[in-house]
Amino acid sequence: MTDTTADSGAVETAETTDEALGRSYLSASGSTLSSWLFTIDHKRIAILYAISTTVFFFIGGAAATLIRLELLTPAGDLVADDTYNKLFTLHGITMIWFFLVPVIPTTLGNFLVPLMLGARDLAFPRLNLFSWYLNIGGGLLALAAIILGGVDTGWTFYTPFSSFYSNSYVSIAALGVFLTGFSSIATGLNFIVTTHTMRCPGLTWFRLPLFIWANYATSLIMLLATPVLAMALLLIVAERWFGLAIFDPTRGGDPLLFQHLFWFYSHPAVYIMILPGMGVVSEIITCFARRRVFGYTAMVFAILAIAVIGFFVWGHHMFVSGQSSYANLVFSFLSFMVAVPSAIKVFNWTATLFRGRITFEAPMLYALGFVGLFTMGGLTGLFLASVPIDLHVHDTYFVVAHFHYIMVGGMVSAFFGGLHFWWPKITGRLYPERWAQAAAIMMFVGFNTTFFPQYILGYLGMPRRYHAYAPEFQMFHVASTLGAVLLAVAYLMPLFYLGWSLFFGRAASANPWEATGLEWTTASPPPQHNFFSTPVVREEPYNYHPEGTPKDA
């Protein structure tokens, strides 16, 4: 598909030229700490982000573990109520803002966007590094809030609890989220400008891989939604520090305004979290089904439609907050409509398998798991979009189960899929396939065991954020906790076998999956400037041939 072809002959050429022209990005500018901390290479920044998001993932995961252990018994006996409240707040804040929102764009996206565009770097490399420091700064503030004594508002920071009643370190945590929001904005800005201005010759908009489209749409949402959250959080801090009254009901302020601002960001944020995952899955399914993606154009417009309609559905989080029933009607309708493009995507992924030549390496297992779990999460989203059902299950475990199906079952599966898929490209090493497949299957089973019972709990009437609960619910919580154990083990496994592969894994060729896409035309790991010469694109994306592998692609 490009002037550097993907077959084995070209790989050898690439490797020899690699030695002739320069070393990989991993060794080219040295391996001192400062060569990493001050790097402006998008690939190295991706690694920095990979390390920091992994740390936050395990911090959030530790909190989740304690939560699940506490909920083994109905009485609040493992930790005190305040501690429990701080734990779920910690879990929410770190998982959402320091793992789910940044993880795919800043690790896989940072690494791959310039490679897939045939560019030497992002448009603003310094801004890219700066965004990492913002993210770290925000993360350290959030951690400081925890070390000082914790935050107990929940990740939603609802006023007036957060502004006038909570005695915890709300301001520091809110400022941490504020900072990391700027990091999101910087990343989004970089991606948009890069996609617009730095595509290599021949790479027209409708030849872009869906991963690029997904990150493009995600960036749009980051740019347009995050500032609203930033303002809302800033006002909470101002209320706590300077006594502003904007959300204070005792002085004429309205707590619902905060909810509107918050969800204007936080609903689209769901798409910040899921769209990049959809991009990853599109790359993986096409590669392992050896087929062009079904309905490329429809997939692109579905991505854009999700991003756009996603801005107008936030009110479905406020069906029970006293919003007018006509507003409920409109938000309900739009929430149903935003599910249509998601459904199209599910059907198109499924149809891509039709008449493919399918193999089941670990990335494919994750991707197929994604499709199943995302379907379940999406469908239960329709339950929540129906006002009468939402009146019952709102703020119960049904909601908890729903968004974990989307964000953990969907997004985290996609991230692991992408991590395995591009691992050889990023590190130049092959991971042990059997272990990876085992982890993927365990994750799927563990996930369903953990979260499916929570749908039932929710319909039975178990509210979320409860430290102690009625004994009737115990058996479901026990099942959930057992699943969580399995899930925890499955999440720890990649840490070991991927870590192992860094030192002992077999060296990867430039294109171990025989995938299309510009990133596979350069060496593994890529040289410092990505390509030895600027690539030229002459074909549509996903030019796979299920009938057999042609020798002249």
Partner: protein
Amino acid sequence: MSGLSSFISAASERARQTDLLFFSATALSGFIVLLVAGLIIGFSIRYRKNSNASRAELPPPLLREFETGWTLATVLLFVTIFGWASAQGFGAMTPAGEPLQINVVAKQWMWKSEHPGGEREINELHVPADRAILLSMNSQDVIHSFFVPALRIKQDVVPGHTEALSFIADKPGTYALLCAEYCGTQHSKMTGKVIVMEEEDYADWLSHQEADNSLAAQGERLFTTLGCSGCHGHSANVRAPPLENVYGSPVALADGRIVEADDAYLRDSILQPKRDVVAGFKPIMPSFAGRVSEANLLALLAYLKKKPQQEARDD
């Protein structure tokens, strides 16, 4: 309360309708999940790497038809569910007949209610069956949410707003009442019961309650409506002197004097709070001169004299 039934039994017509909608949606979703899973597994087997199934391309017009087909089918399906759900939502909004209005006050971490005759309850709500009930709800502090799973209803109680929630329960019994909106430390303890009774049992129950219209009870209501509890309440964020047992006890002032908290002192503290500031507190209380009538002032004082017993009941 006994077992899961206090949560899940459907105690109103609306609850049964919600169940019907929910289980229909579940069946439909189950079908779609099975369809997608079946296709994925079926394709995975049929088109696995070494199978000799045909890999020929289908003609593009056919593919386009597939695509249009499932897009339209999805839209149609979603619009149908939406229509059904909204029809039910709007149908349930207008209960018939003159409703029985009960005032509910939510605070950290309890539900208080007051029946039309002045009968008051905490964490319990007795209502007659087969009669439209209109709850008029206010919050004293943060957002709470009134949730009765057996009625399949929930309404946030947002401070500064008066929220209305109406229902007709038709199955006598005792049902769980929960707070569904996270409201602080003891959120999970903010639970109670809704007791649905036959009309005559309810009348009987009412006759055994004594309506509390004493001066102190009025004062207690004023203590919240005027916003006193926002700072002097035991869960308040703003630091203000606690008022439990204050009446008749000695108070150390910022300027070093010690005075007895008698009627005159308490009255002055409400009307001219800057004059005698309690040691260790900032002079941040606004004056209530002109904002509280003499009658109300007396009620407040009566409440403050009685306050220790009152709070003990709360905890």
